[in-house]
């Protein structure tokens, strides 16, 4: 993001005054978000001069971007990778773990069959639950790796991020499918 920034040489963790790491206290994150928006939001500058409005718009936008990144485990992990190594990785990188990929293919098949199953809602819900469990397990691993960001640990973290991307894509497809099924009724 190339917006002219305030004191935003600070990283998102510093901005939110949270310790640098994968484990984030969700309640505290949300509280700080509200505090930061309370001072930066354009609604606070409606009757201000134009140049103050511009600063407010930039700051508030930046706070939203930081919050979005810190709130979502995948975005947070990629952000941490970019802070530690300068490279957040891309969407197109694929996991090299054969067993994991096999499992994903099976999950995809289950999802494809869900549409024609007698209770499609329940079938999709099962896939979603499974995805959530897998993601939670990977999140736990990431917390450990980022707590001790040695080059070896960061390489492992990058591989987990690739897996998380897979799960995330699958989750979104499952949710779209839920919408499709819903539209039928």
């Amino acid at each position: 993001m190339n917006l002219a920034m305030l004191d935003f040489s600070k990283n998102y963790f510093e901005l939110f005054d949270l310790p640098l790491g994968f484990a984030v206290d969700a309640k505290r994150l949300a509280e700080r978000y509200r505090t930061l928006q309370a001072v930066t939001h354009p609604d606070r500058y409606v009757v201000a001069a134009d140049h103050e409005k511009r600063v407010s718009l930039q700051a508030s936008t930046q706070v939203n971007e930081a919050y979005r990144t810190l709130k979502d485990p995948l975005a947070r992990a990629r952000y941490l990778l970019s802070l530690h190594t300068g490279d957040p990785g891309t969407d197109s990188e694929t996991s090299k773990d054969g067993a994991f990929l096999m499992e994903q293919m099976e999950l995809r098949e289950t999802l494809a069959e869900a549409q024609s199953s007698p209770n499609p809602h329940a079938a999709v819900a099962r896939v979603l639950t499974h995805l959530a469990e897998q993601s939670a397990a990977l999140d736990k691993e990431l917390a450990g790796l980022f707590a001790d960001p040695t080059p070896a640990n960061l390489t492992s973290a990058r591989e987990i991020v690739r897996k998380l991307q897979f799960l995330d894509k699958c989750r979104r497809d499952a949710e779209d499918l839920e919408g499709l099924i819903d539209g039928r009724y």
Binding site: D7, H41, V46, S60, D182
Partner: protein
């Protein structure tokens, strides 16, 4: 425990100066205006004590436009010059409107244009101009009641309105001569009214679902309220689903029953719509309703409709609204049992069948204790009062989202999504493009809004042309385009070439909107009509802005000038202030403007430092809170 109070750099000018402000609910069928007086937000009645203003405008050849009940009464006799439901047309092309809403009883002069014009005795008018008349009438009512000019207004729009519809609404306000503090989502406004209403009982905290079925639009918003902060988690809906559609179904049914074929004339159509609307309203309190039509062939047709038949007719429309609710819940990652309250908004939620089915979906009886017609205007008035700076110390803050994803066209007619739906605004994303031909100096970018993958299935917002790219070999230029959505949900695009630092010129061609030039022309027409001297007006506007900048800076310097500025910086700012103050009596608008911009330049760093300072004190307060 309450959040720490912190200095608000923007609002330091004159803390006790009360600014007159109003909230306007610009509805499809009815509009309202509300203000806060002595701490109470209430809708304002006309001289006859009526709060609702029918959103109907009649244009005559010689006289000024007539707005409201008088126009509505003339709709049957003068259907072509009497425009109702302009909100359905605003920010849309005609083909789109026809596809959504069936037959329209107007004559369009330029059916293929980006902004269709309706031919009336008072001229060929855009929906923007029709809406401007309604806004003018309501603003006048507020000014008469409050006894002074409005500093600004908050205008509500359906949460599901896209960029073009929002922009057109703002254009209408500009034409009406109003300063828009903010465009506010209707369900969010309703939530504000409810939040304040229930604040004492302490029941307002938590997750709220706002089901808003109005005359022409449907919105569902899922919000979380925490200590005065309303965070919209997801917004969804259908900007072409409302009570009008119930009327239309019922009218169609009546015309079919009366064996009137497709060729019904404007008059018969209007008559059927009115009979349908009356029957619909009756059926909310009585088990049956009678419909009567006087047909052009001299026949008098009548029939009785019972509630069950009516409900069977409208159930498919209610289904559509409930599907949107389920999607919004999914987007918000909220399960039904987590919803703490369901609030009904909009006149169409008076229909018992709607209430019954909403209650069934959410598993709890919905709240409707604030008049569903007025609740949006009341919330807008509270927000307007806050934005005007009249509620110091109030923690109320609304964090809204964009309802539709924003993307750009890529190869093969596909859409690449840049900003996903339900992103909290303001939001920005940058995207880097490159040239594909040697020496290429221009590039076209097509911006779309919608959730589908194909360009043809999304709504075209605008085409941008970047010009002035330095000529380089193919693929060497790096053009960064930033898409910014502001707190009104409106898109702005900026572009620059990264290797050379050259700012590319962005030319906007809105797909369904008026260009800045067209707005300026309309504005100038209306002012010439009003006999106002344009130059004098520009000078006055520049003076007001200059005074505002001076006032707020003086207050800021008193508060923290010593702490945040060194002597040299302070001198530079004060010199620029003196220079601006010296231009205030000038009759040269440009001279005042130049001096103001010079001052803004001089204090740019100071303004940023103040913002950082505010952030730091707020976060320090947060840390103290955390230890308690």
């Amino acid at each position: 425990m309450p959040l720490l109070q912190i200095a608000e750099p923007g609002q330091s000018a004159a803390p006790h100066q009360h600014r007159l402000a109003a909230g306007i609910d610009l509805g499809t069928t009815n509009s309202l205006v509300a203000t806060v007086r002595s701490g109470v937000a209430e809708t304002l009645p006309d001289a006859q004590g009526r709060h609702l203003l029918p959103s109907v405008v009649r244009f005559g050849a010689a006289a000024a436009p007539v707005v409201g009940y008088h126009a509505q009464a003339a709709a049957l006799d003068d259907p072509l010059n009497t425009i109702a439901s302009a909100k359905r047309l605003i920010g849309r092309g005609l083909a789109e409107v026809k596809q959504l809403g069936g037959r329209l009883p107007y004559v369009f002069v330029n059916p293929d244009a980006a902004v269709p014009r309706i031919h009336t005795a008072g001229g060929d008018l855009t929906p923007v101009e029709v809406s401007a008349e309604i806004l003018k009438t309501l603003a006048q009512r507020a000014e008469d009641t409050l006894g002074g000019p409005l500093a600004g207004v908050v205008i509500t729009v359906p949460a599901y309105f896209d960029d073009a519809q929002r922009q057109a609404t703002k254009d209408a306000a500009t034409l009406a001569g109003l300063k828009v503090f903010r465009l506010l989502s209707e369900p969010t406004a309703a939530a504000v009214a409810y939040g304040l209403d229930h604040a004492d009982a302490g029941t307002a905290e938590g997750i709220h679902a706002i089901y808003d079925l109005g005359g022409g639009t449907f919105d569902i918003s899922i919000l979380r309220l925490t200590r005065g902060v309303y965070e919209v988690l997801a917004a969804g809906g259908d900007s072409a689903l409302g009570g009008d559609d119930f009327d239309r179904l019922l009218a169609q049914w009546a015309l079919e029953q009366a064996s009137v074929n497709d060729g019904a004339d404007h008059r018969t159509l209007r008559q059927a719509m009115q009979a349908a609307c009356t029957a619909k309203e009756q059926l909310s309190s009585t088990p049956t309703a009678d419909l009567v039509l006087n047909l052009p062939d001299g026949r008098h047709w009548s029939a009785t409709l019972d509630r069950a038949a009516f409900e069977a007719l409208i159930d498919p429309l209610i289904d559509r609204s409930l599907a949107a609710c389920r999607r919004a819940l999914r987007d918000a990652r909220v399960r039904v049992p987590e919803v703490d309250a369901v609030v009904l908004v909009g006149g169409s939620t008076r229909i018992p069948r709607v209430r019954e089915r909403v209650a069934a979906l959410f598993g709890r009886p919905p709240l409707a204790n604030i008049d569903p017609d007025r609740v949006v205007a009341i919330g807008a008035a509270i927000q307007a009062d806050l934005l005007a700076g009249n509620r110091p110390g109030d923690n109320l803050l609304l964090l809204d989202v964009i309802p539709l994803s924003l993307g750009i066209e890529t190869m093969g007619g596909l859409v690449e999504r840049l900003i996903p739906r339900n992103s909290t605004i303001p939001v920005a994303r940058a995207q880097t493009f490159t040239t594909f031909k040697d020496g290429q100096t221009a590039m076209a970018i097509h911006v779309l809004q919608g959730e589908r993958d194909l360009v043809d299935d999304c709504r075209s917002l605008a085409r941008f042309e970047l010009r002035g790219i330095p000529p380089l070999v193919a693929g060497a230029a790096r053009i960064q385009v930033s898409f910014e959505i502001d707190a009104d949900g409106l898109l702005r695009v900026a572009a620059s070439e990264l290797t050379s630092g050259i700012t590319a010129r962005v030319e906007v061609k809105p797909s369904y909107g008026l260009t800045d030039g067209e707005i300026a022309a309309m504005l100038s027409d209306s002012r010439q009509h009003a006999g106002e001297d344009q130059l004098a007006r520009r000078v006055r506007e520049e003076r007001v802005e200059a005074q505002r900048v001076l006032e707020s800076l003086r207050a800021a310097l008193t508060r923290d000038g010593d702490a945040l500025l060194d002597t040299a910086e302070r001198t530079r700012i004060e010199d620029a202030m003196t220079a601006l103050a010296a231009t205030l009596n000038s009759i040269d608008a440009k001279r005042i403007g130049d001096a103001r911009r010079a001052l803004e330049q001089a204090c740019a760093r100071y303004v940023e430092r103040r913002m950082n300072h505010s952030i730091q004190s707020a976060m320090a307060g947060q840390r103290v809170d955390a230890f308690e």
